[in-house]
């Protein structure tokens, strides 16, 4: 990784940490934490203090705790987010009701051939 990338990563990480630390609302704390773990994966760990990592483990009630395992976990979260992000690119409007899938299944089955 070249110096410029490290510099950008450090800047981003500082912002995320600031957002996390300055937030007083628990939900925002969780969201911020999720987002920067998702953004940086295992590379995040070396930037965090031991106390800070312990607070993440405690707040999320993680059973996976030591550094190696947390690194694997954060890598998995990061890998998942690389897929999940694509859902954001799917054009969704307020009329996209999550219950539409139920109707979709019913229509796919047809209504004229029900079991007697």
């Amino acid at each position: 990784m070249d110096d410029r990338v490290i510099e950008i990563l450090d800047q981003k990480l500082s912002c995320s940490l600031m957002a996390f630390q300055s937030s007083s609302r628990k939900r925002l704390k969780v969201l911020s934490k999720n987002m920067f773990i998702a953004s940086f994966g295992g590379s995040l760990l070396k930037h965090l203090s031991k106390e800070f990592v312990e607070s993440i483990v405690k707040q999320l009630d993680l059973k996976v705790k030591d550094e190696k395992n947390l690194k694997d976990l954060f890598e998995t979260v990061q890998a998942n987010y690389s897929f999940i992000k694509a859902v954001e690119d799917t054009t969704l409007t307020p009329s996209d009701d999550p219950m539409l899938y139920v109707r979709f299944l019913q229509e796919a089955r047809g209504g004229d051939n029900e079991e007697k």
């Binding site: 969201l31 999720n34 773990i37 998702a38 999320l60 009630d61 993680l62 059973k63 996976v64 395992n69 694997d72 976990l73 998995t76 979260v77 890998a79 998942n80 897929f83 999940i84 992000k85 694509a86 859902v87 954001e88 690119d89 799917t90 054009t91 969704l92 996209d96 009701d97 999550p98 539409l100 899938y101 109707r103 979709f104 299944l105 019913q106 796919a108 089955r109 047809g110 051939n113 029900e114 079991e115 007697k116």
Partner: protein
């Protein structure tokens, strides 16, 4: 006929012989138990073999048939059940140490249906822990014992390949029927979401789980589907509808059917020998009178994104309570699955639910001018035990991702998908072809698979026993 030859017969042929009294269910059970004895030391496909219970059930079936109380094609036929499915009075571990002593009070609906049809339960086949993976340790691939069978229904597929089972059940959330079917050179059918009940099957992800057969022949999968399909009040995804005669409909010609071949995604990063076998299979189907049309599967990134969101979030939700008490009894990989799932937010989950019908409609729109779609089942052949990454002609990717990337799209969209053997590579390892259909068009998917099987004869390649 030698008893061991019975192990390679089609279910319809065996049923006919049982009905006529030429073969007894007890002969079948004994031949299978003998084969299990020959192969299990190396293959380890089973976690429980219910030999004595099977012998008693075979005796009972034989008497019923002799009295003229023949129930149909599965009467007196031994079946092997994935150990993710509840079996009344028989240990059901879900592949987990936590449930090592679990004995259910009731059968899963699919097991109940098979028993009502007169089938005999032979044993429980190994699954990856809670179906959360594609390795299925310690089961080995009968084609090459230093390779994995795939998973999570690896025990079922390995048992068919080793001929230590006549027919089996598996389950599939991101490919768990089709991955081992491809690696073990057998037939695996993931039916349309909602066609087969999943009640009594330990859930991985309620909205993506499917139950289906893993068999030696396509016709055997049609037979199994005939008996397990249909409404179940215990599974809200199922609905009352007429079930076609899947076996009879195999005889309809494929001449004139239209097959779509994706020009994007499904043929990228595929091993050259796999690619060659799948391209050859498409030519065979064209030779049988099917027309081939290129198409583009849209929004594949969104499909994989929605799939990942639903799968991980539902895994984390389902395991949350058990995990809180028993985290130390989960394997490390399962821990990562469950804990990573807890990072998915409610808004992301709901957006995935909202995207699902839209994405499914887009896929069906892409398929509007074809009857089926054809893709490789897997980009590679069965990997060696211990490998964590797939190596594909210079391209490297996470092994589990390589296993699910051609299959999981049809868990999200709920479309029926069949994996059948379409050849062997230069190391004599099987290669899988995936045939995808429209919702509830299993008859068409099975028919294409059946005609291909008859035209090529890959199903006649057998693992030599003793191994």
């Amino acid at each position: 006929m030698k008893k061991s030859n019975l192990l390679y017969e089609r279910l319809t042929a065996l049923a006919s012989k049982i009905h006529e009294g030429e073969v007894s269910p007890q002969d079948l059970v004994n031949a299978l138990l003998e084969r299990i004895k020959e192969t299990e030391g190396r293959v380890k496909a089973y976690v429980t073999v219910t030999g004595e219970e099977a012998r008693r059930a075979a005796e009972k079936a034989e008497k019923e048939i002799q009295r003229g109380q023949y129930r149909g094609l599965l009467h007196g036929i031994p079946v092997s059940i994935k150990d993710l499915m509840d079996t009344k009075g028989v240990k059901t571990t879900y592949g987990s140490r936590i449930f090592r002593e679990n004995i259910p009070d009731d059968d899963a609906t699919v097991v109940k249906k098979l028993k009502e049809a007169g089938a005999i339960m032979l044993g429980k086949t190994n699954t990856h822990e809670f179906a959360l993976g594609g390795i299925t340790p310690p089961t080995k691939n009968p084609w090459s014992l230093d390779r994995i069978p795939g998973g999570s229904s690896g025990g079922s597929a390995a048992a068919i390949a080793a001929s230590s089972a006549l027919t089996t059940l598996g389950s599939d959330t991101g490919g768990s029927i089709r991955i081992p079917a491809s690696y073990c050179g057998v037939v695996g059918l993931k039916p349309t979401y909602g066609l087969v009940s999943k009640a009594g099957v330990f859930p991985e992800s309620w909205s993506l789980d499917h139950v289906g057969p893993i068999t030696r022949y396509v016709e055997d999968s049609a037979v199994m589907l005939q008996f397990i399909a249909g409404y179940d009040e215990k599974d809200p995804a199922t609905r009352k509808r007429k079930i076609p005669d899947y076996v009879a409909e195999l005889q309809n010609s494929v001449d004139g059917l239209r097959a779509g071949v994706p020009r994007n995604y499904f043929f990228e990063h595929v091993d050259h020998e796999v690619l060659s076998a799948v391209r050859q299979a498409i030519k065979v189907l064209e030779g049988l009178g099917m027309s081939i049309h290129e198409l583009t599967v849209p929004a594949i990134d969104g499909i994989m994104g929605a799939y990942t969101t639903l799968d991980f979030a539902e895994i984390a939700t389902n395991h949350r309570r058990i995990y809180a008490e028993h985290a130390h009894e989960y394997t490390y990989e399962s821990k990562l699955y469950i804990e990573a799932g807890s990072f998915i937010s409610a808004t992301q989950y709901i957006d995935a639910l909202r995207a699902r019908p839209k994405l499914t409609t887009q896929v069906l729109e892409a398929m509007k001018d074809v009857d089926v779609m054809l893709t490789p089942s897997q980009p590679i052949v069965a990997p060696k035990i211990g490998e964590k990454e797939a190596f594909i002609d210079g391209y490297k990717e996470d092994l589990l991702l390589s296993m699910v990337r051609f299959l999981a799209p049809f868990n999200l969209t709920g479309l029926p998908a069949l994996s059948i053997c379409c050849g062997f590579n230069s190391d004599n390892l099987p290669i899988g072809l995936q045939i995808i259909g429209k919702p509830f068009q299993e008859s068409t998917v099975l028919r294409v698979g059946h005609y291909y099987e008859q035209a090529t004869g890959w199903h006649k390649w057998l693992v030599q026993v003793p191994l």
